[in-house]
Amino acid sequence: MQPTFSSSRILLPVRPWFIIFSLFAALLLNFLPTAHWPGVPDWVALVLCFWSIREPRRVGMGWAFALGLAMDVADGAVLGQHCFAYVLLAYATAAQARRILWFPLAQQALQILPMLLGCQLIQLLMRMLTGAEFPGWGYLTGPLIATLLWIPVTFLLLLPQYQPVERDENRPL
């Protein structure tokens, strides 16, 4: 748990099972048939990005690699395509984690955008270089929507860590 500049609220420590649960939930969301619609974000990338910023010691490149492998198989993509992109994403976010958390949420979202976009662009480049067809510009709109979702996702994933607001007159904190 790390302090943020914008919020002085003290968070409870994160529960490891909740991290695992949220990552699997993201995987399930990715498997939904909605994934073909343009603008549907890559939920795994978004949640991975979140935890790798909040808890870089717990969620790192190992998780990114495993999730990438699952995504590759489920997608019918070339093995290693998502792994490569997610591992790079986890590395970039973990490296920037301490800096990003000092910004308010809206500005955090702006810094997430290039990373998610890069994650998508890397996959696009890998496949185009090996002779796949161009899937259309809708493929790149996912990260834009994911950026807009950064604030609600942060709220949702931090919900179990918020503690009830209790005002104690004797111990003002």
């Binding site: 190992g62 198989v73 019918g76 301490r98 496949r127 002779g131």
Partner: protein
């Protein structure tokens, strides 16, 4: 990078340095990518991972199919009755043809025996339901609900009631992946019905097909039907594949640009028939076998 430049004191255990981990994982990913793309030899790894992801995918598909089922339930009895009546009528209309088809096939077989030509292969297979289209936006594939458990093997062609849909490319324990004929550079050997000219048709990736390497002065018109030629040992001859929609003849190219659209409802959900694999054909004789499509006869004669 901001987080990596200060090394931790040795008494805090933090595992390998991030850069080392990154190099390790990236090396593995790239190795997997190259091996999967070029050698296609790690299907066992893919199948074992699919054992974990497949139940999750099926679970994720349930809300959608539940909505479909509910919709079908609410649409009610009337539609079903209508459809039933229509199907009965259609069956009745087709009955004379079908009855005569059996008669004709029998006759054909007898005549072929008389001519000492090998018998035509019969088309049979297994009906499979399309579960969903593969999520990979770079290719056009569908997943069907039959796999190794039902004896599906890679290479089997899939057809629907109108024509060829695609070919099984990967097989998982309980599902299989069919690459559609519209996938980029998916090839189907065809024959033009009207002129009898043989060629191959390539998928374009845009939902269309292209007939390549046809000379600009070849006898081909818009509306021509292309059927499988059966020369490849994969597709049985005579299944409709595509119809020619546009022909551009330019003086600067030796070949005409011929666009076709698939005859089958290739990109729609429904059911497909996975045809059982063809019997391996005997090797081609050293001389050119002439224009008959039956490669069996000459080699048999040579054996005698």
């Amino acid at each position: 990078m901001a987080g990596t430049d200060h090394a931790p004191p040795p008494f805090f255990k933090r595992g390998p340095a991030p850069l080392a981990l990154l190099t390790f994982y990236i090396a593995i990913s790239l190795a997997l990518f190259v091996v999967d793309l070029r050698l296609r030899s790690i299907d066992l790894l893919r199948q074992s991972i699919a054992l974990v992801t497949d139940p999750m995918q099926r679970a994720a598909q349930t809300p959608g199919s539940l909505v479909d089922h509910a919709g079908g339930y609410l649409r009610g009895l009337h539609n079903l009755l209508d459809e039933n009546a229509r199907l009965k009528q259609a069956q009745l209309q087709l009955a004379p043809n079908l009855l005569r088809l059996e008669h004709l096939e029998g006759e054909n077989e007898r005549l072929r025996k008389l001519l000492a030509v090998t018998e035509r292969e019969k088309a049979n297979g297994a009906v499979a339901r399309i579960m969903y289209t593969a999520r990979d936006p770079f290719s056009r594939r569908i997943i069907i609900d039959k796999g190794q458990q039902s004896g599906i093997v890679a290479g089997q062609p899939a057809i629907d009631e109108a024509g060829v849909v695609g070919q099984v490319t990967r097989v998982f324990p309980f599902s299989a992946e069919v690459t559609l004929i519209t996938d980029k550079d998916q090839v189907v050997p065809i024959q033009v019905v009207r002129s009898g000219q043989r060629s191959v048709v390539f998928g374009l990736g845009s939902g269309q097909l292209e007939l390549r390497y046809i000379p600009a002065n070849a006898d081909i018109k818009e509306g021509d039907l292309l059927v499988t030629s059966g020369l490849d040992g994969v597709y049985l001859p005579g299944f409709p594949v595509a119809r020619v929609v546009s022909i551009e003849r330019e003086n600067s190219y030796a070949f005409a640009r011929i666009r076709c659209v698939p005859v089958a409802a290739v990109e729609n959900f429904g059911e497909v028939l996975v045809l059982s694999p063809r019997q391996p054909q005997p090797p081609a004789p050293p001389e050119s076998p002439g224009r008959t499509g039956n490669t069996g006869a000459p080699s048999k004669a040579a054996a005698k």
